[in-house]
Amino acid sequence: MVDDGEHLDRGPADPGPILTALNARDVDFLVIGGVAVIAHGYGRYTQDLDVIPLPDAGNMARLCEALADLDAVAFDADKRRVSLDLSRPESLAIGNYFLDTKYGAFDLLNGQRPDLKRYRRLDEAAVELEVFDHRVRVISKDDLIAMKREAGRPKDLRDIAALTEVERNPPPGG
């Protein structure tokens, strides 16, 4: 289903309650994208929360419950609204979903297929942060750089440049 031009009247964005909703449903996920860039020391601006959810059946079912709590709707790359079938959790583990929730943008970036092995590898190297009283796992800096190198858009290269700036120019005595 494609629904062109639908405008959703949402309140102000607020990523904190998105984390609250995910944790309330015990959803396992790794934070990637701009928020991960900030976590690794580059204080740039972002307005969406990008995650990779743990692609197992139980977790995807819990994610669907959280998405229902968040009143999530999905858009395609052209910003057209597309269907989001929360009754089929397994479908959300394939491909990317650009979601609009009642608390703002929230994107699921799975890749082309559910890849439990890849998730485990990323999770093993991830760092755990405490953000607004929530424990949040953020992809490692090396994995983030690898992902951004693969994406290769100008903003990804700028993120890599910023993330590696200290490595290029260590502080005196560092």
Partner: protein, 114 residues
Amino acid sequence: MSQAAEIVRSARLRSRLSQRALARRTGTSQAAISRIERGLEEPTLERLEQILAGLGWKLETTLEPIEVHDEEPFRLQQNASKDPSALLEGGLNWLRFGNEVRAAGERARAKARG
């Protein structure tokens, strides 16, 4: 057009030489120069240097860091139709969240350093 194609073509035109003349100088065929200039053939770095030397140019390759610029806000188009006061409040929420995430990252790095 590939970068090598652009470099060879630009150097040849600036030297006011035909493809045929360049081919003679570099010991190759006019067809080979044409393929490179059309991006149909990617020369090795060594071969590119040989071709440019035949034109009196040298290739300098240096390591330059990619410049860092401020990130442009994502989803600007989506935001364009939203209420400005909600946008401002949402932006401030994101800034607060970003600051919290950055501080949490710093705490984690400090802990890892011991």
